[in-house]
């Protein structure tokens, strides 16, 4: 008649007629071999009968491992992140880990606070999506003794495991596509400074152009990876160099869509007047008007690899250093040969 609360390990022990420590071992796959088969089975049966679920809190307190990993993203509404986060969560869940999610809003103070809070919650490690230079994460994580894995963006200088795309080579694909279409005067709509992907992609654009003896006719860096910032930077590009380029290589899809907005404002047609390419191949990139020619990155694979890298670290293995996943060109309709004349 009494409300028993959740059964504890002692309840199981009592029912199985053994000591709690024996139950603990019998239920731990890595210690089960120290227990006789008969007892292990009796314990399993008792646990099953009681519907016993060990308290991860108590286990974490004692063992120091909470089976919890924190994931930090700057902005979940940026379509790049959901697939990555989802893949991370799935991979962690498969390994029995639960995912703590928080959004930093690209604010360094918030990032530091969230890491501390996750550490207080006993997180075993932190996966940081989109680190920016000056990010307090490496310092904070190191101070707290937490393994840190970067995903989507690396952090040059810091020796941290990271899973990223082949940014330079990937955007080179887009540039070469434009060159093949006959473009010679190409502008780059770059990502914010302090972000590794932005620098890498700018480098990639320069390299691909240089291979043909060319250089970008203009480079304008957006203040953030958002549609609004992309539109603004494109307006700047038009102010400075209107008519001076026939194509814009954007550092990501959101920026490219911002370019769509800005080009439309001044009556320029895509791709008839100006070609535009993006980067990321985010969901819906095929549905915009015109469908965006872009570079596909492996969102899911990236998330999964990041989770695997974290799990390897948590197992005490060295794990991979920086992993670079290849990107592929996706040709749609936003890039076409330049207008004759």
């Amino acid at each position: 008649m009494e409300r028993p609360g959740r059964p504890t390990i002692s309840d199981v022990a009592r029912l199985a007629g053994v000591h709690a420590s024996t139950v603990s071992r019998a239920l731990d796959p890595s210690a089960r071999h120290r227990i006789s088969r008969a007892v292990a089975e009796r314990v399993a049966a008792a646990a099953e009968q009681l519907g016993y679920r060990p308290s991860a809190l108590a286990a974490g307190l004692r063992s120091g491992r909470s089976h919890t990993v924190g994931v930090l993203v700057p902005d979940l509404t940026n379509p790049v992140f959901p697939p990555i986060v989802q893949a991370i969560e799935a991979a962690l869940a498969r390994a029995g880990y639960v995912t703590l999610l928080a959004s930093t809003e690209a604010d360094a103070a918030k990032e530091a606070l969230l890491i501390r809070r996750m550490a207080a919650q006993g997180a075993d490690g932190i996966i940081l999506a989109s680190a920016a230079t000056g990010s307090p994460a490496p310092g904070a994580a190191a101070r707290l003794g937490l393994p840190l894995v970067l995903v989507n963006r690396r952090l040059p200088g810091a020796e941290l495991p990271a899973v990223v795309s082949e940014d330079a080579a990937g955007i080179g694909l887009a540039v070469r596509h434009l060159l093949a279409l006959g473009h010679r005067r190409i502008a780059h709509l770059g990502g914010p400074s302090g972000v590794a992907t932005a620098a890498d992609r700018l480098r990639g654009v320069r390299a691909a152009l240089r291979a043909e003896g060319l250089a970008p006719v203009a480079v304008e860096r957006a203040a953030a990876y958002t549609r609004q910032a992309g539109a603004e930077a494109t307006r700047a590009l038009l102010r400075v160099r209107r008519g001076g380029f026939t194509a814009i290589v954007a550092a990501n899809d959101l920026l490219a869509l911002g370019a769509y907005d800005a080009l439309r404002e001044v009556g320029l047609r895509i791709p008839a007047d100006i070609s535009v390419t993006g980067f990321n191949d985010m969901p819906m990139a095929d549905l915009v008007d015109p469908p965006l020619t872009t570079v596909r990155i492996q969102h899911a694979a990236m998330g999964e690899a990041a989770a695997e890298a974290m799990l390897a670290r948590l197992r005490g293995e060295a794990g991979p250093g920086t992993v670079r996943l290849p990107a592929a060109l996706v040709v749609r309709a936003s890039a076409a040969p330049p207008q004759a004349g």
Copy 2:
């Protein structure tokens, strides 16, 4: 020279020259009044000096409150969820809670497993986005004694707090818009059965039409809220009733985009031949071709309200029951007057 590990409450106590229990009280705003001002300040200083961060694990173990809330979504890559999740996380974070995220993949077994796992982690409550009939969540949560709050979809029958949109009234806006444009033969591309929003929106379509003495000329329900399922259901609609309708009211944006795909396959132009409306006003809905006329719901407000409802419950307050947030029509270009003749 020794590696001190993280400072514990006893370290702070020692430094402040008081007992650990006094530190605990001095640091707890709701118990601070039992401590003299002088001691409280000494403790605060000591904690500050040591960089003390209480272990949420230990606190949770003893107090039964882990300051952790689990959030379950069926699929994070559905653009409806990120803004909701982000708002939930932000509101919870403001209250000092951390968010556990997991994706159920619309799988009941997985949903049950994840709830158990979150309970084992000591989660204080569960917020479930998009419950479907037959969801094991209410039962599981009740068994575990966890408060459950629904967001985006309610669960008819279960007496659970839920924060949803005014689905019926909202989609009525779209229908009335179509009627005002002159459409009379309207088909409904419905959501999956077993999902409350789908039923509510279907009801809303019927009600709005009935007010004019009309009824939907066809109703086809998609197997899931995805672009693919939307395309398939639209193909079915065309098979059955091609030419029999001049507009499609879709139960959500993803379905509407699927309709775009299917209509294009057979050479039908939007909106010249067929008008299409969506629901949700997801990000990018304005960028597709043609820009989607849809119904805007308050993603962020919904997430925030759900988090607030959960926090109220955790404070022991009754909190609101079902909250319905109004929706608004967003007119873009996918709906136009029907072709003459």
